[in-house]
């Protein structure tokens, strides 16, 4: 089987928690693993962080660029615009 996993790792803190929750909601195949102080989320092929989902969870406007503050690491090609942050393999 081809290995096309992508991952995103975030700090395990108050600000990142709703982002992690949003990722779980929008990515059925995401696997969430907790390590001391951090959370690593793996998924085959693609992970999307949707602005709307995060905003619903935190009750305020949210800019996908705010991800930078609590981001630890990632693997995959990035596509970012005003509505979503996407990690994917391939074109």
């Amino acid at each position: 089987m081809a290995n096309n996993n992508v991952f995103i790792a975030l700090q395990n803190n108050e600000e990142a928690r709703p982002i992690i929750e949003a990722i779980e909601q929008d990515n059925a195949e995401a696997r969430v693993e907790y390590a001391p102080a951090m959370v690593k989320i793996d998924a085959p092929g693609r992970i999307v962080v949707r602005r709307e989902t995060v905003e619903d969870l935190i009750g305020r406007d949210w800019d996908p660029q705010e991800l930078h503050i609590n981001l630890i690491s990632l693997s995959g090609n990035i596509d970012e615009d005003d509505d979503a942050f996407v990690l994917h393999r391939g074109d």
Binding site: Q65, I72, S73, N77, I78, D79, E80, D81
Partner: protein, 513 residues
Amino acid sequence: MAAKRLNLREKYQKFTRDLAWEPTYQKKSDIFPQTEFEGIHIHDWDKWEDPFRLTVDAYWKYQAEKERKLYSIIDAFSQNNGQLNVTDARYVNALKLFLTGISPLEYAAHRGFAMAGRQFGGVGPQVACQMQSIDELRHCQTQIHTISQYNKYFNGFHDWNHMHQRVWYLSVPKSFFDDAMSAGPFEFVTAISFSFEYVLTNLLFMPFMSGAAYNGDMATVTFGFSAQSDESRHMTLGLEVIKFMLEQDERNVPIVQKWIDKWFWRGYRLLSLVSMMMDYMLPKRVMSWKEAWEMYFEENGGALFEDLSRYGIRMPKYWEVSVKEKEHLSHQLWATFHNFGHAAAFHTWIPEESEMQWLSEKYPDTFDKYYRPRFEFWRQHTKEKGRWYNPTLPMLCQTCQVPMLFTEPDDPTQICYRSSQYNGEQYHFCSDGCKDIFDDEPEKYVQAWLPVHQIYQGNCGGASIPEVLEYYHLVDGQDNKEYLESNDRANWLRWKGMADTEADREVQAVVNE
């Protein structure tokens, strides 16, 4: 007419691309004189895009927020004597290695990206390199500030930059970066942004920083993750530059592959120091080196290179060797440092019984068979005849500058030796990977400043160990040697209200879950 709010893409265009202009009275090749000599062909610099589309105003906004958070935690850490909350004073030795080995590389990266940004002919990479250059300066500064708290209480932190320039094993990280900075701008970013930051630094920052948290070091995990939040951007730059070069011209593919091969191996050899930090220097362990290598290199790196195969790029040469070595690496490194602990800027020790148990479980095929007997022998020797240090100096690999301690990929009982002739002289290497790198550019690597050669040539204060320690600014009996006999340990027991009787001379290790 009301001004329309720009979307991210438009904003990036306006704030970045529109900064560029075509020169009229100077030739572009005079303005950017280093863009061609490496053989990389670029046709359209505008094809380079930062996928984060980070503009300078957003950059300052988010960086300021990261700094505010970081410094409030650093303040809390020192106000509450956070250094007393770490699992065990042995842990602090990993920080000594970090400050002397890694923090100076952050500063080197600051310089390197300033230089690379100046040489690229497109505004996308110029802006990305400028931001990274500022990030790296921030990383160096925050590490110095954070670790300065430890300097008040523990030995060995007092002259880290001086040590970085001189101490034998610190020439491993130093020469790695010097090698990259003395290459051209495209090789530099392939080396640092792609091979090191994208492919390899997860191994340093993820398990190690998570390990710092696990060992109660709130300060280190905070600067670590704060730096790492910039790292995602650096990694993305690394992947972007690779894809950009590969898409611009087919003739770039073999050059890029050669650099990936070289810098994977250089970076992997540098990380052997991290393998020992993970398996031996953290009293509480998050994962073994072997598990980390499987997760971050074999699995993630595998997916990355599968993705890049559409450009004609394959896995880096000798990656199979790294997979064979994962069973042995950390043990061979720690054994070597244990034996040369009198010349190191941190303390060394024999793992406690519970730690040996953990190593046996994590390395069922190798630890009990090859390494446990050595450690038990040395422990016994210390009991009967005192702590043993190797009185000779080790032979170093001409390329990676690590002592010749690695074994043959298929025979862990034989040290691996390779050599090449150049201009009538013989040069020695730890591996085929290091030999290939030398053979490709011998005129560069014959100039390596090898600490052991330099000592024998009389360039390091003298030929005896005390003279060399003085040249390193290390105080014998204070900053070096066995942990059990150290001031650090005696102080630690005093601060923690533990008695230092002969009976608990063998410190009880923190039991790993």
